[in-house]
Symmetry: C2
Subunit: 186 residues, 2 copies
């Protein structure tokens, strides 16, 4: 029991413990993608890594444009998590003259007018909107015009876009409200 961390296999039970799910859940989810677990042994760590990598798109290496270089934008540029999982921020854009030309995390901030060209040149598929709520919709429209089909939105507004463009909203208050709810029930 409690195999060394250098072990070549891992059981659904242990995966469950690590990810905060149940063993049955892990098994069902993994079985959905085909059965690459060995009975009596577990899942080969190497296989798991490969399989999940290709499913989730790590083999694709997406390029992202960050729009809005405020504190949040800077935090996202510095955030290591994206790159680790195959998402790379290749351009930073802002319309604030004081920011344009400055360097943040190895990227030079460019005016929004440069976005269109960069999308083609740098092969950008994804935009991150980290602007104020007021500018967000305008920035989204522009991004779509530039050919971007998927957007991660941090601005606290509900944006409207055509069906074929996918928007994921990150609302920081949702989690806090959950905690609040929990605290009052205690």
């Amino acid at each position: 029991m409690e195999a060394a961390s250098g072990s070549t296999s891992i059981s659904s039970d242990r995966l469950a413990r690590l990810t905060g799910h149940t063993a049955a859940q892990v098994r069902r989810d993994l079985a959905y993608f085909g059965n690459f677990g060995k009975r009596g042994v577990g899942y080969s760590v190497a296989d798991l890594s490969n399989q999940l990598g290709s499913i989730v798109g790590i083999d694709h290496n997406w390029n992202m444009a960050l729009i809005g270089v405020g504190n949040l934008g800077k935090a996202l540029l510095a955030y290591r998590g994206f790159e680790q999982r195959g998402f790379k921020i290749v351009g930073a854009y802002d319309n604030d003259a004081r920011k344009i030309g400055s360097t943040v995390s190895d990227l030079t901030v460019e005016p929004l007018s440069k976005l269109s060209g960069s999308v083609k040149k740098l092969d950008v598929q994804l935009a991150i909107i980290a602007t104020s709520a007021e500018s967000a919709q305008e920035v989204l429209d522009l991004s779509i015009n530039c050919g971007i089909m998927a957007v991660l939105n941090f601005a606290p507004v509900r944006l409207t876009a055509p069906e074929e463009v996918q928007i994921a909203n990150v609302d920081l208050t949702v989690e806090v409200e959950y905690l609040s709810y929990w605290l009052t029930r205690k």
Copy 2:
């Protein structure tokens, strides 16, 4: 149709349009908290606001401590959304000597050693961890020692805490991976 925005009532249908859900969903969710809708009319905007406010805890006005004043921490301090919904950041903490004493969004950054005292003095119930992944667990343990029972974690690590402490994790990569998945299926 399309009542003026000064209207005193709003229908489930319109709420659905605004929030991106279905009318049935809205009705069921609201009915769960007791029936304060009027048939043939809709929901009184004033009632809605009161009811939801008390459910979600806006009447409680929670005080939060922010730990880790990097770019992300600064972004959270500047973020208006929290205060709007009754969450107030009343203290900012960091162990970086260069940051201690500086002022960010009207708060003076204090060393972590001051946390314990502040929790009591400022009546803090909630901590936000915006430190590096390496420091996060240590900071969490300290927070719990100070009597904090609910934590919002932005560090990209899975933290361990006793059952009675509630942790909400914000993982910025989850949403991007969803977009990635969607892009590959297109």
